[in-house]
Structure formats: C-alpha cells, structure tokens
C-alpha cells in the first residue's frame, strides 16, 4: 500500500500521468521513441490487468472450500456392520 492507495492503482495512475504528458504534446513532432513509449505503456497496462485477473482467480481458488470426505460414495458394508455391532 502507498498511503492507503493500493500499489497497483498508484502505479497505474503514475503511468497514465506520464502517458498524459506524452499525449498532451502535438503528435506532428513525435519521434519514434514517443510512439514506442505510448505503445509500451499501454501494453504494460494490459499486462498488469491480466496479472491482477490471474491473482484474483488464484485467490478465489485458495478460498474455495476443501472437500474433506466424499459423501456421495456408499459406506462400505463392513463398516456399517461394525457400527451396528458397536450399537452406533
């Protein structure tokens, strides 16, 4: 966290700010590096979003309930017999 703002958001804002500076200039005077910078910044945005998406999917999987026993399978006959004999 950076002062209460999630890091990913802070990074994104910084990136957009720098993109804004480049894109605020008259493009007729652009050099190749200006164009590259814009393309790369937009790709970074996409990658960060994809990473956030996969992290959130992983977190969901982590939080998913763990199945401790398979209740759909029939209880073996010998266990039922033992339980009956034990008066359970």
């Amino acid at each position: 966290m950076t002062g209460g703002i999630p890091l990913s958001l802070a990074l994104e804002e910084a990136l957009i700010e720098s993109l804004d500076v480049v894109m605020g200039k008259d493009p007729h005077g652009y050099a190749q590096q200006d164009r590259r910078r814009i393309i790369l910044a937009l790709r970074e945005q996409r990658e960060r979003l994809e990473n956030l998406g996969s992290q959130s999917a992983a977190a969901k999987t982590k939080r998913a309930p763990v199945v401790k026993a398979d209740l759909s399978r029939p209880v073996p006959a010998e266990i039922l017999r033992e339980a009956e004999e034990a008066g359970i």
Binding site: M23, D26, Q32, R36, I38, L42, Q45, R46, L49
Partner: protein
C-alpha cells in the same frame, strides 16, 4: 410548415447531395444501410437526419470513436502489406494521434465520455491489434487481383422509382472479406460500452446492415457470403475487451431480405411523392432514446426553428466514398 415550404427546404438541403433524385425532392436513390435503417425506425427521424441533415450539436462521441477505430484497422491492414506488426502498429498510432489532435486549438480531442476518449481509443486499438495481429483468417483476393479490404460498394438494387423511373442503388462500405473454416465471411468491428454476451451478438441477426453487406458480397464482389464475423470491442473506463461472434446469413435469408426491401423503397418513394414522413411514436424510446425526441415534443410549426437553433448541419451522402463524408 406547408408543403411548398418543406419542398424548398428539401431542395436546398439536398442540392449538392448525389444520392438524392433531382427529379423528385426528398427521394433518396443512393441507399446505404444507415439511411434505410433510419427510415424503417421512423420516417420523421429520417427526414430530420438524412434528408435535412440535422445532427445533435455534440456529434455523438460513439460515432467519432467508431470511425477512428475503423480507420485505424484499415490503416493497419494496408501497413501490414509492407511492414511487420510493430512497424505497422507504430504507423497506426502516429496517424491516430494526429487524427485526434485539434490543430486549430493546439490540443488533443476532448471527450466528456469516460469510456470513449483519446486515451481509451489508443488503448483499444493497440490491444486489439496485438491480439488479432495473426488471426487465422485469410483475406480474399478479388477477381481484379486486389485484396478484399476497404471495399466501397454500389450496385443496382434491382428496384426503380415507379414515378421518376430512376434506379435505386445500394451502397456502403465493407471492411474486409476473408476465408474462415472454408467459408467466405465479412468482418466488421463493433464498439460498445455494454457486455459482449449473446444479447450483443444476437442484435445483428436479423439486421439491416449485415443483410445488405451479405447481398453486396454476392452482387458487387461475386463472393458467396454465408456469415458476418463481428469483432465485438467493449470499451470500459479501465480496460478494453474483445470477443468474436457470428451473424449468419443464409442464401434464403439474403434473398428474402432483398425481396422485402422493395416494400421499404416504395414507402420511401411514397413519402417523397406526398412530402409525408410521419413519426413512428413507438420508436421514440428505442436505442437509448431518439436524438430528435425533444423536437417532436414541439408543435409542428415550431420544429424547424428548434432544429435550426439546437442542432448542427451535415450532409449525409452515402455515394461519397469513405473519408469524404
């Protein structure tokens, strides 16, 4: 307004418009899917927008955004003929930045829409081209040896005005014709703020625009089109998403569509003949609300002044090739 006043107004509005008859004021002969669609939705809306050329002051940001996306994808297709992906992408980005630069005010194009502005436009185009740079579709080569991209079409619709005997011409613009799984398809990108689910893709079938495109593929380009592939582009504030969907058009459906347009062209002719473009009050709330709703709320004698005071003017001439409009 009386008939004479309306006739004079129409003559003035369409005098330089090639798609309108010079024999019968208000009779459109060069018909694109937008004009036809607008007439079907509401004849009065068609009169205001297509014939008289009124348009909301703030030209729809969705329209501007869509035009820029289409243009960028066309440029990319051209650039790829002589360059690799990265080089072509740079060329597209440069042109897009120049196209969205207001030279007179020396500032970027400003949009009040958080979804559709200069930044989201650049992002959408770069992400889209990165994703589909090597799609599996092979562009069709036409009989004249040229690749089937950026195709402006016009062809005889097979219908004539019963009054002036002039031919109705169908016209428009197709982005690309390609081969996909052995089928010949038309590709068309569509931007939206809404989701890219079945509701979005189903909205194109049945549909006026793609039926005309499929017919054009057959008649104007001698290609048997069985499908339109819609590249759905969802533009959100923080991201752009993409999904491809299908809009099928069987030969029977295309033939039926062509047959039924005779009815609509006759209706358009009747409207021009009697200077009567009635409002369709069942359409006022459709598609997010008609842009002329506030005009129709006024009395018939106040509407023209309201249009002049509150709307901009432009000419809708579909016979001009794209880029001239």
């Amino acid at each position: 307004m009386n008939d004479q006043g309306l006739r004079e107004l129409i003559i003035e509005a369409t005098k330089d418009n090639e798609s309108f008859s010079k024999k019968m004021p208000g009779l459109q002969l060069g018909i694109d899917s937008t004009s036809l669609g607008e007439y079907k939705v509401c004849p009065r809306k068609y009169l205001f927008g297509q014939i008289l050329g009124f348009t909301p002051q703030d030209t729809s940001v969705h329209l501007v955004f869509g035009i820029h996306v289409h243009k960028a994808l066309e440029r990319y297709a051209h650039a790829r003929a002589h360059a690799g992906h990265e080089e072509a992408l740079e060329e597209v980005v440069q042109k897009l930045l120049e196209d969205t630069w207001d030279k007179t005010r020396n500032r970027p194009w400003l949009s009040s829409d958080p979804n559709k502005n200069r930044m989201t436009l650049l992002r959408t185009v770069v992400w889209y081209l990165d994703r589909f740079q090597e799609d599996s579709m092979e562009t069709v080569i036409l009989a004249n040896g040229r690749p089937a991209v950026e195709l402006s079409f016009r062809f005889d619709s097979g219908y004539k005005s019963s009054v002036t005997k002039e031919e109705f011409i169908f016209c428009g613009h197709i982005d690309r014709i390609a081969k996909f799984n052995g089928m010949t398809v038309i590709l068309d990108p569509k931007t939206t703020k809404s989701g890219l689910g079945a509701y979005f893709f189903n909205s194109f079938t049945p549909g006026n625009q793609f039926s005309m495109y499929a017919l054009a593929g057959q008649v104007a380009f001698q290609q048997k089109i069985s499908m339109i592939i819609v590249d759905g582009i969802q533009v959100l504030v923080g991201e752009s998403r993409f999904q491809r969907g299908l809009a099928p058009r069987s030969p029977e459906i295309i033939a039926e569509w062509h047959h039924e347009q005779g009815f609509w062209l006759a209706q358009m002719e009747t409207s021009a003949q009697f200077l009567s473009w009635p409002g369709n009050d069942k359409s006022c709330g459709q598609y997010g609300g008609c842009q002329f709703r506030e005009v129709c709320e006024k009395g018939p004698n106040q509407r023209l002044q309201w249009l002049r005071d509150n709307y901009a003017k432009r000419q809708w001439d579909p016979l001009k090739v794209r880029g001239e409009i």
